[in-house]
C-alpha cells in the first residue's frame, strides 16, 4: 500500500528551487511553520487521524501538485489547529530547552571559590582592562587572544562590581571577598545560549522538531560543555558568536526566496556581526568565517546560474554580501581594537614586545607624551644654521652614552647579550648576542669611538661629542664589557648570514668590533637622533649589516631571537634599528616625542605581535601533549581544579556516551550520504519523501559536516601546543549533525514500515536516544559539578566504575 510510505512526509517541502516559499522570514520559527508544523503535529500527535483521512492513498500521485501546495490544504481540522499548535509546538520546546540549559549551567556556578585553570589568564586580563593597563603575553591562551573577549570579561566584572584588584596569580588561589560571580555568570549566560541556538539552527535546517530536540539535549547534557561554560574562559564567548553566526547564516539562507527584504538584511548583517565577534575572541573564529564564506560563494554561484536574474540584480547580491559579510565585520573588528587601545592606555608588562613608537602611546612608559625641544625642530627642518652648533641634548646620540637598540621589525626585540656562550659547533664559541623582547639590564650598550678606550668618555673633563652619520663606532655591552663583534662564521639559524658575538675583555677587542653607523636617507656628518633615526650598523671588515632574523634560538639561546650580520644589503626593517633609551649624565635629560603611530599601524603591529606569539608556542620536547586525534574519542580530559583526594575536583571531559554517539554518527552520516548520493547519481527512482530526506541529509547535513571539518582538521597542521578544549567548537557541529542524522535515519526506517509502526519506531527511537543521554549525564554529572573523595582509580570511589578509559584521571 503506497500510503504508509508517504504518510511520514513530515515537513512538506514544496519545491526544490525555493524550498519553503510559504515561509515569512520575519516571523521567526513560529510563524514560519504555521502550515506545516501543524501538519507535522497532527502526525506526531495522531497519525491515525491522518490515516483515516481521505488522502491516504494519494500522496504520491499528488507529487506534481505540491509546488502549488496552497490550494490543497489539509482538511479543515488540521488547519484549524495550525495557528494554535505551531507556536506552542515550537516555542514551548524552545523555552523548555533554554530553561534546562540555563539551569544546568548556573547550577553551582560559584563552586569552587578559587581560580580554576586558565581563569588565571583571562581573569587577569579582565583586571588589566579594569585597571586600564597595557599587556601582552606569549603564554598560550594569551598569545592568540584578541581584544573583545577580555573587554567583555572586563566589562562583566566591572558591572558586577569587581574592582580589578584580585591578582589571579595561579590556579587554586581563593577569591575570598572578590566578586567573581559576575564574570562567571556572564560566561555561563553565553554558554547557555548555545543550546537554543543549536535548537533553532537544527530546526531551521531539518524542519524537524525531534532533530532539534535531540541536538539540544546532547548539548544540555554534555558534561564538557557545561564545565567549559562555567568558568571565566574565552570558549563560551567564542562559541556564542560562532553559533550565532551559524544560526543567522542558516536563517538568511531560508530567506533566500525573499532577497532584500527586511528580515533578509537583518539576518545577513547579524551574520556579519557575529563573525566579527568570533574572530574578535580567538583566531579560531577564522574557521567559521571560512564556513560562512564557502556558503556565500555557493549561494552566489547558484544565483549566477539563475538566468532570470539580471546582472544588475546579481551585482546587488554581491555588493550586499560584500558589505554585510566583509566590510561590516572588518569595521566592527577594527572598532574593537580602537576600544582596546583606547581603554588600555597605561604602561604595563607587555610593552617590550612593541616598537618604540607604539610604546609612546602608553601612560607611564618612559617614552610617553614628551615634548619636542625646539633646537631639534630647527635642525630637523634643515635650515641654514650649521648643524655643528645645536645645543647639546640627549635627543642626539653622544659617545659614552648608555643606550638600548630596538629592532624595527614588527615585534623586534632589543639588542641583547648575556654571559652565556654559543655552544660548541655553533660558530665561534664566544658570547651570545640576541634580540630580546623584554626590558632588561642586559639590553644596555655603551657607544664608543672605535679607537678610544673606556675612560675617555666617563671623564667629566672631556666635552660631549656626538655620534654622526658615517662614524665608525664600537658598541660595548654594559654588563659584560664585551664588544659587539662579527666574523665570517655561519650564524646559528640563518646559515647564509654571519654570526654576531660579544668579544673582547673590558672593551679591548679587535678590528672585527668596528661598525659604521649610518642613518637611512641622511648625508654624512649629521648627528643621529634618538628614537627618530633609523640606524643601520655596517660591519667594517666584512661589509655585512647587523640585523635580526626573527628566528627563535633553541634552548641554549634561552629561546631568544637570533641576531645576525647579513651580507645581503637590503633595506628591510630586519636590518634597521633605533636607539630607544639614551642615558648620558652629561646631557640634559630631554626626551623626544616620536611621531605617534597612526591607528592602522598600531593595528598591524599588534597583529604581527600576536601571530608571532602564537606561533612561538611550541610544545617542549618529551612533553605529553594533547593530540587532535584524542579529542573526538574523548581520550583524555583536562583537570580544571583539584588534584588530590581531599580537593574539590572538576574535570573537563565530554559525556562519553554523547561523544561516542557523535563519533559513530559521523561514520553513519558518511555512509548514509554516500548511499543517497550514489543512488541519485545512478538515477534510482526515489519516492518523494526519500528525496526530501536526502535533500536535508545532503544539504543541511553537508553544511554542518563542513563546519565540523573546518573546525577540526586544521588542528592537525598546527605546530603549537594544543588542548582538549580546542575541540569544543567542532563538537557543537558534531552534535547538530547527530540530531539531523538520527532524525533522518529514524524517519527513513519509519518510512519503510507501516504507518503506526513507523510512527512508533520514530517516536520511541528518539525517546530512547534522549533517555540514554539523560541517564549518562546522571552518571557523569559529578565531573562538572565537582567531586570530593577518593580518586576514580581507587576502587572505593563512587566514580570507580565510570573510569571507562584508563587515560581519564578524575
Amino acid at each position: 500500500m503506497p500510503c504508509e510510505a508517504t504518510r511520514l512526509r513530515f515537513p512538506p517541502c514544496p519545491t526544490a528551487r525555493t524550498p519553503f516559499p510559504l515561509v515569512p522570514c520575519a516571523g521567526g520559527p513560529g510563524r514560519r511553520h504555521l502550515p506545516r508544523v501543524g501538519a507535522r503535529m497532527t502526525l506526531a500527535a495522531g497519525c491515525c487521524q491522518a490515516e483515516s483521512g481521505p488522502r491516504c492513498g494519494g500522496l504520491r500521485q499528488r507529487r506534481p501538485r505540491r509546488p502549488a501546495g496552497e490550494p490543497s490544504r489539509p482538511s479543515p481540522l488540521p488547519r484549524a489547529w495550525a495557528p494554535l499548535e505551531a507556536p506552542v509546538g515550537v516555542w514551548v520546546p524552545l523555552a523548555f530547552v533554554t530553561l534546562l540549559s540555563f539551569a544546568s549551567r548556573f547550577y553551582r556556578l560559584s563552586e569552587p571559590p578559587h581560580v580554576c585553570w586558565d581563569e588565571t589568564h583571562f581573569g587577569k586580563m579582565g583586571s588589566y582592562y579594569i585597571n586600564r593597563t597595557f599587556f601582552f603575553d606569549v603564554h598560550p591562551p594569551l598569545g592568540k587572544v584578541n581584544s573583545s573577549h577580555q573587554m567583555l570579561i572586563g566589562l562583566a566584572g566591572y558591572l558586577s562590581g569587581y574592582n580589578g584588584t584580585f591578582p589571579f596569580q595561579k590556579p587554586g588561589d581563593r577569591y575570598e571577598h572578590h566578586n567573581y560571580i559576575g564574570m562567571r555568570g556572564f560566561c555561563a549566560f553565553l554558554g547557555s545560549c548555545l543550546v537554543p541556538f543549536a535548537y533553532l539552527t537544527v530546526l531551521e535546517m531539518s524542519k524537524s522538531l525531534y532533530a532539534a530536540l535531540l541536538a539540544a539535549s546532547i548539548l544540555i547534557f554534555d558534561t564538557g560543555c557545561i564545565t567549559l561554560s562555567q568558568y571565566i574562559l574565552l570558549d563560551p564567548i567564542l562559541m556564542f558568536f560562532l553559533m550565532g553566526a551559524v544560526l543567522s547564516m542558516v536563517k538568511c539562507n531560508s530567506c533566500a526566496d525573499r532577497p532584500f527584504s527586511a528580515s533578509w538584511w537583518f539576518w545577513l548583517s547579524l551574520t556579519g556581526i557575529n563573525l566579527a565577534g568570533a574572530i574578535g575572541v580567538k583566531f579560531v573564529g577564522l574557521f567559521v568565517v571560512l564556513l560562512v564564506g564557502l556558503n556565500t560563494v555557493y549561494d552566489l554561484w547558484e544565483l549566477l546560474g539563475d538566468l532570470s536574474l539580471s546582472l544588475v540584480t546579481l551585482g546587488k547580491h554581491l555588493l550586499a554580501r560584500v558589505f554585510c559579510l566583509i566590510l561590516l565585520p572588518l569595521a566592527l573588528y577594527t572598532a574593537q581594537f580602537a576600544v582596546h587601545f583606547a581603554v588600555l592606555n597605561k604602561s604595563g608588562p607587555g610593552d617590550g614586545f612593541f616598537s618604540s613608537a607604539f610604546q609612546s602611546r602608553l601612560i607611564g612608559n618612559n617614552l610617553h607624551n614628551v615634548s619636542v625641544p625646539e633646537q631639534n625642530d630647527r635642525e630637523a627642518k634643515g635650515n641654514c644654521k650649521s648643524s655643528d652648533m645645536p645645543l647639546p641634548s640627549s635627543a642626539d646620540l653622544a659617545y659614552g652614552s648608555v643606550i638600548t637598540m630596538k629592532n624595527l621589525r614588527m615585534a623586534g626585540g632589543y639588542l641583547h647579550s648575556h654571559w652565556h656562550l654559543y655552544p660548541e659547533g655553533v660558530g665561534a664559541r664566544q658570547q651570545q648576542v640576541t634580540a630580546y623582547l623584554h626590558k632588561d639590564l642586559n639590553n644596555l650598550w655603551v657607544i664608543k669611538k672605535h679607537d678610544s678606550n673606556t675612560a675617555d668618555h666617563l671623564d667629566p673633563s672631556y666635552s660631549v661629542e656626538f655620534v654622526r652619520h658615517g662614524d665608525v663606532i664600537r658598541l660595548e655591552h654594559k654588563e659584560t664589557s664585551r664588544n659587539l663583534h662579527s666574523h665570517q662564521h655561519e650564524a646559528p639559524m640563518t646559515r647564509k648570514h654571519f654570526q654576531v658575538t660579544g668579544y673582547g675583555i673590558n672593551g679591548t677587542g679587535d678590528a672585527n668590533d668596528f661598525w659604521r653607523i649610518e642613518v637611512v636617507g641622511r648625508k654624512a656628518g649629521k648627528r643621529i637622533k634618538v628614537l627618530r633615526s633609523q640606524i643601520r650598523l655596517t660591519h667594517l671588515a666584512t661589509g655585512c649589516i647587523l640585523g635580526s632574523s626573527g628566528k627563535t634560538l633553541p634552548k641554549w639561546g634561552w629561546e631568544q631571537v637570533e641576531v645576525t650580520c647579513t651580507p645581503y644589503v637590503k633595506e628591510t626593517p630586519n636590518a634597521l634599528w633605533n636607539v630607544e633609551d639614551h642615558i648620558n649624565p652629561k646631557l640634559p635629560n630631554i626626551s623626544l616625542d616620536v611621531l605617534k603611530p597612526s591607528f592602522p599601524e598600531v593595528l598591524l603591529e599588534s597583529h604581527m605581535v600576536m601571530i608571532r606569539g602564537n606561533s612561538g608556542l611550541k610544545p617542549k620536547e618529551n612533553e605529553v601533549t594533547s593530540k587532535p586525534w584524542h579529542w573526538p574519542i574523548n581520550y583524555q580530559g583536562l583537570r580544571f581544579s583539584g588534584v588530590n583526594e581531599t580537593d574539590y575536583r572538576v574535570y573537563l571531559l565530554g559525556n562519553p556516551v554523547v561523544w561516542w554517539l557523535n563519533l559513530v554518527t559521523i561514520g553513519l552520516y558518511l555512509l548514509m550520504a554516500t548511499c543517497a548520493i550514489v543512488a541519485m547519481k545512478r538515477g534510482v527512482q526515489l519516492t518523494a519523501e526519500f528525496k526530501e530526506l536526502s535533500e536535508v541529509l545532503l544539504h543541511s547535513g553537508g553544511k554542518i559536516m563542513l563546519g565540523w571539518l573546518l573546525h577540526y582538521l586544521p588542528f592537525f597542521m598546527m605546530g603549537r601546543v594544543l588542548y582538549f578544549h580546542h575541540y569544543f567548537p567542532a563538537m557543537l557541529f558534531s552534535s547538530m549533525l547527530t540530531g539531523i542524522t538520527w532524525d533522518t535515519l529514524l524517519k527513513f526506517c519509519a518510512g519503510r514500515l507501516s504507518c503506526s509502526m513507523g510512527r512508533r519506531v520514530y517516536t520511541y527511537g528518539t525517546l530512547a536516544l534522549m533517555l540514554l543521554i539523560v541517564y549518562s549525564f546522571y552518571l557523569f554529572h559529578p565531573l562538572s559539578y565537582g567531586m570530593v573523595g577518593p580518586m576514580a582509580s581507587d576502587p572505593n570511589s563512587p566514580m570507580a566504575g565510570l573510569r571507562w578509559l584508563e587515560s581519564w584521571e578524575f
Binding site: W301, L304, G305, L307, E490, P492, M493, T494, R495, K496, Y568, K620, E621, N622, V624, Y635, Q636, R639, V643, V678, K681, R682, G683, M717, G719, S807, E809
Partner: protein, 725 residues
C-alpha cells in the same frame, strides 16, 4: 597454420620521427660529458653515502624519503662495479678511480632525457596538436635547471620521470576507456599508472602530491562513470574495483615491496642503529645482535640488566648512575637531596647495569630455577657498581621542578626514609603471558609510595651532572608517553654474591642464548615511523630559499666550484621559460574564470569540445603545478630551489596549451595568425639563446672569466661565485 607460406610476413613499423628525434636530442643533451666533473657535486655528497652503504649492505635510516630512489642510484653503482669505498665528506672532493661516476649518474640522466618524449606524448594524449606537443618537449629540452638536476646523482629527475609517466599512462588509459575497456592495453596503462605512482612516491615523498592529484582526477572520472546509466550496475562495480586495485592496492603493495627489498639488502648493523629500538637492532647482523645474542629471555629476580629508554629522544640513552651526588644547592638556589645522581647516559658503560631485586629477599643472584618478574610485581632496582637502590621522594627534580627527583638512596641518617619500591608495568604485554622479557617488553616503573613514573625529561644536566640527561619522577602521568617506557637491552642472570666478584661480572660481556626474528611488517612499521618522525637538527642551509623566491627564480644554488679554474655548476633555470610559464599560468587562470562565469550565464565563447580540452589540460597542468608547489608554504623543513622542479615541469607543459588555445580561438583571421607564428619563432629562438648563454653554468664548462660571470648575473639576488684576485 603455416599461413606465412601463403602470405608473406609483413612487419609494418610506424616510427614517429618526432619522438625519435626528441629522444635522441634529450639523450645528447643530458648525457653529454656526463662524468665531468669528476668531483662530488652538491647533494651527491648526501646520496653517495647511501650508495656506499648499499654496496656494503649496511643498514641506515634516511629521513628524507623512502628507499626506492636510493636503491635506484645504488643499482647504478652496482652496474658500474662500485665497491662502496669512498668517503663522502665534502662537496668538491675528487672521485677516486674506483668510483664509477658515469654509471652512478647514468640513471638520473636517462630518466631526465626520457622526460622530453614523455612531455610530447602527454600533450598528444591531451588532444593537442603535434606542433604544440613538440614545443612542450623543446621547452623541457632547453630548461637549464632540469638539465643540471638530471646530470648529477640526484633524485629529482627520476621523480619527475615517474610523475610524467604516471600522468601519461593515466591519459592513455582514459582515452582507451571510451572505446575498449578491459582490453590488454587498457589494463596495461591502468596498472602502469599505479606502478609509476608508487615509484614516484618511493623516490621522494613529494610524489604523493601527484599521486593525490591523479586519485582525485580518477575519482572525478569514476563519478562520471557512476552517472553513466547506460552501464549496468555490475560493470560499474567492475570498473570501480579495477581502479581501486590498480590505483590503491598495487601502489601500496609496491611501496611495501620497496621496503622489503631495502631491508633484505641491508642486513648489517651500521651507524644509525642507535635510532632503532633494541629489538630492531638485534635483528641486524653485528652490532647489538653480537652482544645480545644468546641472552636469557625472561627477566628474573637477580637479573643484571641495562635499561634503554624507548623514546630515544633527544638521543638514545640508558638508565645510569654514578658516584657523584646532586649538588646541595642548584644555580637557582633550590635545594636537592644531595643523594647519588641518576641520569640517562647515551653511551654503553658499566654504570648502566642494574640488578632486579626482590624486596623480600636479600640475595642479588638468580635462584635456581629463576623466578621471572611479571607485570604488577614490586621490585627494587640496585645499581650494580655502587649497590645503591633506585629511589624517589618528594624533592623537586633538578631541571623540572614540577617532577620528583630520582636518586640512588644514600642513608644520611636524616628523616628521609628510603622509598625504593617500584611496580613493574609491562605496557605491551601479551594476553597469555605477562613475564618481563628482554628487549621485547616495554616497561613502566611506577613508584609505590608516590605513584610517580620513571621518565626521561629530555633536558640535559649542567656541568655537575656531566651534561647527561635528566631523569625525573613524573607525578601526574598523563597517558603513555614513550619517554616513560624502558626496555631491557643487555641482560644476564647474576651469579656473584660478593660485590667484588659482581663488579668483575658486570665488566664481562653477556652470553647465553636466544635469538629474535622480527617479522617484516614489524620492521617495516618501525622503520617507516622513524623515517617520518626523525627530525634533523639541521636548521638552515646557505642556499636554502623560501617558496616565494621560486616562482621568479630569485635564488640559485651553487652546486660545484672548481678551486683552481673557477669553473662552476649552478642550478639556474632558463629565465625566459620560467617567465613564460608564469604568464601562461596567469593567462590560463584568468581565461578559465572568464569562461566559467560566462558559461554559468549560458554564454559559450568556445565550443563544448574545446572547453572540455581546456579543462582537462588545466586539470593536469595547473593542478600538477599547484599540488607540487602550494604545499611547500606549509612545510617547516629546509627548502631548496630544486623542490620546485616538478611543479615547474607541469607549468612548462601549460605554455603550449595556452599558446595553441590562443591561436585557435582568439586569433580569428589569418594576419594575426601569421604574426603570431613569427612571434613564436622569435620566442623559441630566444629561449634557445638563453639556454646557450647559461649552459656554461649548467654543464660546468667552458670556464668563464670573472667579467663573463658578472655578465651572467642577471639578477642581483643570484649568488654566482666570482673569484677575487
Amino acid at each position: 597454420m603455416l599461413g606465412f607460406l601463403k602470405q608473406p610476413v609483413v612487419v609494418t613499423a610506424e616510427i614517429n620521427v618526432n619522438l625519435v628525434a626528441l629522444t635522441v636530442m634529450g639523450l645528447v643533451n643530458r648525457l653529454w660529458a656526463l662524468s665531468y666533473p669528476r668531483a662530488v657535486v652538491f647533494d651527491e655528497v648526501y646520496y653517495g653515502q647511501f650508495v656506499s652503504l648499499y654496496m656494503k649492505r649496511i643498514f641506515f635510516v634516511d629521513d628524507s624519503g623512502p628507499p626506492f630512489g636510493h636503491m635506484l642510484l645504488a643499482f647504478g653503482g652496482y652496474l658500474g662495479g662500485f665497491d662502496g669505498n669512498f668517503l663522502w665528506n665534502r662537496i668538491g672532493a675528487e672521485y677516486n678511480m674506483n668510483v664509477p661516476i658515469w654509471s652512478l649518474r647514468l640513471l638520473p640522466a636517462l630518466t631526465g632525457a626520457l622526460c622530453v618524449p614523455l612531455a610530447y606524448q602527454i600533450l598528444v594524449e591531451l588532444h593537442f596538436s603535434h606542433c604544440a606537443a613538440f614545443g612542450a618537449a623543446l621547452l623541457i629540452l632547453f630548461e637549464n635547471s632540469l638539465i643540471t638536476q638530471s646530470r648529477l646523482m640526484l633524485l629529482e629527475s627520476v621523480l619527475i620521470f615517474f610523475i610524467l609517466l604516471a600522468i601519461l599512462s593515466y591519459l592513455k588509459f582514459y582515452n582507451l576507456q571510451k572505446c575498449s575497456p578491459f582490453t590488454a592495453g587498457w589494463w596495461f596503462w591502468l596498472l602502469l599508472t599505479g606502478v609509476a605512482c608508487s615509484c614516484a612516491v618511493g623516490v621522494k615523498y613529494m610524489g604523493l602530491f601527484t599521486y593525490m592529484l591523479l586519485l582525485a582526477i580518477a575519482g572525478v572520472h569514476s563519478w562520471h562513470l557512476i552517472g553513466d546509466q547506460t552501464l549496468s550496475n555490475v560493470s560499474v562495480l567492475c570498473h570501480l574495483l579495477a581502479r581501486g586495485l590498480a590505483l590503491v592496492v598495487v601502489p601500496v603493495a609496491m611501496y611495501l615491496f620497496f621496503f622489503y627489498v631495502h631491508l633484505t639488502l641491508l642486513y648489517r648493523s651500521g651507524p644509525h642503529d642507535q635510532i632503532m629500538t633494541s629489538a630492531f637492532q638485534a635483528s641486524l647482523e653485528g652490532g647489538l645482535a653480537r652482544i645480545t645474542h644468546g641472552q636469557p629471555l625472561e627477566v628474573a629476580y637477580g637479573s643484571q640488566i641495562t635499561l634503554r629508554n624507548v623514546l630515544g629522544k633527544p638521543m638514545p640513552c640508558w638508565l645510569h648512575s654514578h658516584k657523584s651526588t646532586y649538588p646541595i644547592r642548584y644555580e637557582n638556589g633550590r635545594g636537592s637531596s644531595h643523594q647519588q645522581q641518576v641520569t640517562c647516559y647515551p653511551f654503553k658503560d658499566v654504570n648502566n647495569w642494574w640488578i632486579v631485586k626482590d624486596p623480600g629477599m636479600q640475595q642479588l643472584v638468580v635462584s635456581n630455577p629463576p623466578r621471572p618478574v611479571r607485570h604488577g610485581h614490586i621490585v627494587q632496582l640496585v645499581h650494580g657498581i655502587t649497590t645503591r637502590y633506585l629511589n624517589t621522594h618528594d624533592v623537586a627534580a633538578p631541571l623540572s621542578p614540577h617532577s620528583q627527583e630520582i636518586s640512588c638512596y644514600i642513608d644520611y641518617n636524616i628523616s628521609m626514609p628510603a622509598q625504593n619500591l617500584w611496580r613493574v608495568e609491562i605496557v605491551n604485554r601479551e594476553l597469555d603471558t605477562d613475564v618481563w622479557k628482554t628487549i621485547l617488553s616495554e616497561v613502566r616503573f611506577v613508584h609505590v609510595n608516590t605513584s610517580a613514573v620513571l621518565k626521561l625529561s629530555g633536558a640535559s644536566l649542567p656541568e655537575w651532572g656531566y651534561r647527561q640527561l635528566e631523569i625525573i619522577g613524573e607525578k601526574l602521568s598523563k597517558g603513555y608517553h614513550q619517554s616513560m617506557l624502558w626496555n631491557v637491552e643487555e641482560h644476564r642472570y647474576g651469579k656473584s654474591q660478593e660485590q667484588k666478584e659482581r663488579e668483575v661480572e658486570l665488566h664481562s660481556p653477556t652470553q647465553a642464548d636466544i635469538s629474535k626474528n622480527l617479522s617484516f611488517m614489524a620492521r617495516f612499521t618501525e622503520l617507516q615511523w622513524k623515517i617520518l618522525t626523525l627530525k634533523n637538527e639541521d636548521t638552515e642551509h646557505k642556499y636554502s630559499s623560501s617558496p616565494l623566491d621560486w616562482i621568479t627564480m630569485d635564488t640559485n644554488i651553487a652546486y660545484w666550484f672548481h678551486p683552481i679554474s673557477g669553473a662552476q655548476i649552478h642550478l639556474i633555470g632558463n629565465v625566459l621559460t620560467w617567465a613564460s610559464a608564469n604568464v601562461a599560468t596567469l593567462v590560463y587562470v584568468c581565461l578559465f574564470l572568464w569562461y566559467l562565469l560566462r558559461r554559468r550565464r549560458k554564454i559559450c565563447d568556445i565550443p563544448e569540445d574545446a572547453w572540455r580540452l581546456w579543462v582537462s589540460a588545466g586539470g593536469f597542468c595547473v593542478g600538477g603545478w599547484a599540488v607540487n608547489y602550494l604545499p611547500f608554504f606549509m612545510m617547516e623543513k629546509t627548502l631548496f630551489l630544486y623542490h620546485y622542479l616538478p611543479a615547474l615541469t607541469f607549468q612548462i607543459l601549460l605554455i603550449p596549451v595556452v599558446l595553441q588555445h590562443l591561436t585557435d580561438h582568439l586569433c580569428r583571421s589569418q594576419l594575426p595568425k601569421n604574426a603570431f607564428s613569427a612571434l613564436m619563432v622569435a620566442w623559441f629562438s630566444s629561449i634557445y639563446l638563453v639556454y646557450r648563454t647559461f649552459s656554461p653554468l649548467t654543464y660546468g664548462e667552458p670556464t668563464l672569466s670573472a667579467a663573463e660571470l658578472r655578465a651572467l648575473r642577471w639578477k642581483d639576488s643570484w649568488d654566482i661565485l666570482i673569484r677575487k684576485h
